[in-house]
């Protein structure tokens, strides 16, 4: 029997879904070869047909129903990490551990940002191709930034939320119930990203707005409401930061000039998209100029708050620590007082 036969068997096994190849691929190759005569030089037609038929059947059986797909789509776009019913978790783990899934995630999650440039091209009188190209550049920068700095963390969060470790293997049952996905965003790259956002978002929109001569009378109530919400959020975040202790929960990401530069660029891309959207909306609903500046100003305030906290406790703190649901493990309190993980049929089995 030549090595060609084994290569043929492995080639036909690619018809099977990835999760099944990982689970039973080597066995199937071994059995296929065991069933052949020692002098076989190629796979018999019957064996090839059997592999094709069984592979297609396995793909059909292993593909989730539309309800699972719709849940995945919705949760991925709208910022929560997808959790699927237990029957589909091996499939999800096999998909999530593929090489390019983080790139797909970055494109998927930023899809809403594509609405603006598409509208530029489709709707008459809304900017034309030059503005659409400008937007496309910002969109690509945002996708690259999200892929480079958020993709791997997202992959690990999804695996953890579905009861798997970072390598895609199921977690021991006693760890699943206590695990809690945690987003970390060390300031090694959030600060440059925020600076880029502030510069681009705070700079472009007012200039474009003034040039368009569309500054209108300030809506005092709207401004006051937004300011109150920002102030409340900052006060809440500050109280939370005050409770953080010095013990590091995770090792911080490594510093790097390229990473900082990319962070700056991706933050600027997001800022440009955001500021243009505000300026575009202002043409119709008369948003006051100050609203354009509020998010960048709030972002700067967050940076200042976080920096102060870092100086106090002597370690890096992520902006996500401002919200209790994002980083519960950083709070100094017993494990049994942590927020309960999601319940119901989507919760990973405990035993």
């Amino acid at each position: 029997m030549t090595r060609t036969v084994e290569q043929q068997a492995r080639r036909y096994l690619r018809i099977f879904p990835r999760w099944m190849r990982a689970e039973r691929g080597e066995e199937a190759v071994g059995l296929t070869l065991d069933q052949l005569s020692p002098d076989a030089t190629r796979l018999p037609a019957g064996t090839r047909l059997d592999l094709i038929r069984a592979g297609l059947h396995a793909r059909r059986r292993g593909t989730p129903p539309p309800s699972v797909w719709s849940r995945l789509t919705y949760q991925t776009v709208f910022r929560s990490d997808p959790v699927v019913p237990s029957a589909w978790r091996p499939w999800l783990a096999s998909v999530i551990t593929t090489r390019w899934i983080t790139a797909a995630y970055a494109v998927h999650r930023t899809l809403p940002f594509l609405v603006a440039p598409i509208m530029q091209l489709v709707l008459p009188g809304t900017g034309g191709r030059s503005l659409a190209a400008f937007f496309a550049i910002g969109y690509v920068a945002a996708v690259v930034g999200l892929w480079a700095f958020g993709g791997e963390r997202w992959r690990q969060r999804v695996l953890l939320a579905n009861g798997f470790g970072a390598d895609g293997r199921p977690l021991p049952p006693d760890q699943v119930g206590r695990s809690w996905s945690r987003q970390t965003m060390p300031n090694t790259w959030t600060v440059p990203a925020l600076v880029g956002f502030v510069l681009a978002g705070g700079g472009y929109a007012p200039v474009a707005w003034f040039q368009a001569d569309r500054v209108e009378r300030a809506n005092v109530l709207l401004v006051a409401t937004v300011l109150a919400l920002v102030a409340w959020g900052l006060a809440t975040g500050r109280r939370r930061l005050d409770r953080l202790g010095p013990a590091p929960a995770v090792s911080p990401a490594s510093d790097g000039r390229v990473r900082n530069l990319l962070s700056l660029a991706s933050g600027a891309g997001l800022g440009l998209i955001w500021s243009w959207l505000v300026a575009f909306a202002a043409e119709f609903i008369g948003l006051p100029l100050v609203v354009v500046w509020l998010p960048p100003a709030a972002a700067l305030a967050v940076v200042v708050l976080v920096r102060r906290t870092e100086g106090r406790i002597g370690r890096r703190v992520g902006e996500w620590d401002l919200h209790p649901a994002w980083a519960p493990q950083l709070v100094q309190r017993p494990v049994d007082q942590l927020p309960a993980p999601p319940s119901g049929p989507s919760t990973p089995a405990l035993g």
Partner: protein, 113 residues
């Protein structure tokens, strides 16, 4: 679905479970037993066997017990679970009942015991 509430099994599935009823087997052993049980009528290929095993493991009828490497090839052993044993015995009783009735109705000499 049979009258006793047990889901009807396809022939390859039934024969795989019967083969495992004699004790744990690896893939090649199962295919050999299935061929013997069916007097050569059913020859399971690797695709069919592992597709069926994957489904039976998911359904809780079969479980993987251990692995070994022979001549550089991975072999995983499978065994019936308690639920799998119950299911294959119920299916066998049903098939026996049908065969007895058929033998009597067709007047086959000697019938079935």
């Amino acid at each position: 679905m049979h009258d006793d509430g047990v889901a009807a099994m396809r022939e390859p599935t039934y024969l795989i479970l019967v083969a495992l009823g004699a004790g744990e087997r690896h893939g090649y052993g199962i295919t050999q037993d299935v061929a013997d049980l069916s007097e050569g009528a059913v020859k399971l290929g690797a695709g069919t066997l592992y597709g069926a095993l994957d489904r039976l493991v998911d359904e809780g009828l079969v479980t993987a017990t251990r692995t070994e490497t022979v001549d550089g090839r991975l072999r995983r052993y499978y065994a019936l679970t308690e639920q799998g044993g119950t299911a294959v015995r119920a299916e066998t009783r049903h098939r026996l009942s049908v065969a007895r009735t058929a033998a009597a109705q067709l007047g086959i000499a000697g019938g079935m015991a």
